[in-house]
Amino acid sequence: MHDPVLDDLELHRRLDAGDRGAFDELYRRYGPSAFGLAYRLTGQQVLAQDAVHDAFLALWRAPEAFDPARGAFRTFFLSLVHHKAVDTVRREERLRKRAERSANLEPVTGEDVAEGVVDKDFLGLRRQEVREALTTLSPEQRQVLEMAYFQGYTQAAIAQELGIPLGTVKTRTLAAMRKLRRVLYRED
């Protein structure tokens, strides 16, 4: 039984040494999650593809940006993809049409992982845990988290959009993050 975390570290070590096979393996592992995330944020194939492309290319060109002492590779890389996608969304604001989002943007609770997705086994268990954790949030908490993380809104923009004080957005966000922290990291 392989340990995915250790495998990631080994793949990163090989990537750092310029091993393209390691790059391909990391792409195989994280490409679908990365693309799903980027697509959810941007709502457009082309923009999502650009964001994922930029993230993988940044990984290849500066592998030392990942420091194993600071956390898991998955944390680093998916954060990198998220940052690239948020940057893309904000840059391409005029292209965003939230009303036309695809089925990929349906509420996450109860979604099934798509058939044939190559990382199903690799990240499937954690994916299920995350989805269950999200059900523990109140609708208000989920809303601000959704708008911030998956739609690229700033907290100020969320406050404006929802017509609530900025302080309320901050409070809900922190409460949501703390609850997810407790559930996902088994903290009391």
Partner: protein, 237 residues
């Protein structure tokens, strides 16, 4: 530090979601450089929140990327010159660097006893580079007139270059200097470094000719390098 941990945690939660703006973003930057690196509670909160946000990515439906993406990446892996290695930073004694450009100098005379053979090799590389035909040394302008400039040393047709800085000020605790190469509006993170005493030499295995400009920023060492902050130094490439 006058803010409560509750308030700091609130900012960190917004920071990891990339949802801060204005004054909140500025406050978070200060916290990340002045407080978080020295506070175990906040360090732990930041690390866990970063993990939570990365986990949130898994809530999105995974989708197979278009079949064209991997071939496109394969093409780009080899573009713009050879794959670079991490930025090499090394300090050299003033007596050595002060004569960069003078042919025939015996490099070993000015190097500190503690320097290693590999550092010697790097210094020798910088010397050789500066002596290449057509090599140019261009100041990288500082946003502060009181700060000595960094000099970019590049040579035509060579897909690498050096940055040499003298008496560079240390960035605030918890921060590092980051080098960004800008092509159009697209930034490429080239690496990060901390200054050494006297002279700091940064070797970058990028072709400077394919980038429009070079930015050097001060950023939190904890932050994922995705886009540059305001530059401390910058120059056309």
């Amino acid at each position: 530090m006058t803010q409560s941990h509750e308030a700091i945690e609130e900012l960190l939660a917004g920071y990891v979601l990339r949802s801060l703006s204005g004054e909140d973003a500025a406050q978070a930057d200060h916290l990340l450089s002045d407080h978080v690196p020295f506070c175990p509670v906040c360090r732990d909160s930041l690390a866990v929140f970063q993990g939570v946000t990365a986990d949130l990515a898994l809530a999105a439906q995974p989708l197979d990327p278009p079949e064209t993406l991997l071939p496109r990446l394969h093409r780009d892996l080899g573009a713009k010159g050879a794959r670079r290695r991490p930025v090499a930073v090394f300090a050299v004694a003033a007596s050595v660097v002060a004569v960069v450009g003078l042919a025939g100098l015996t490099v070993s005379q000015g190097v500190r006893a503690s320097d290693t053979q590999s550092r010697m090799n790097d210094i020798g590389q910088a010397f050789d580079f500066a002596r290449r035909p057509g090599a140019s040394m261009v100041p990288v302008d500082s946003s502060s007139a009181s700060t000595d400039p960094i000099t970019e040393i590049s040579a035509p047709g060579v897909q690498e270059f050096f940055l040499v800085g003298r008496d560079l000020p240390s960035p605030p605790p918890g921060t590092v200097y980051r080098v960004w190469l800008i092509s159009g509006t697209d930034p490429t993170f080239a690496g990060e470094f901390l200054p050494e005493p006297d002279f700091t030499v940064v070797h970058l295995e990028f072709d400077p000719n394919v980038y429009d400009s070079i930015l050097i920023t001060v950023e939190s060492a904890e932050a994922v390098p995705t886009s540059p902050l305001d530059p401390v130094w910058q120059a056309a490439s």
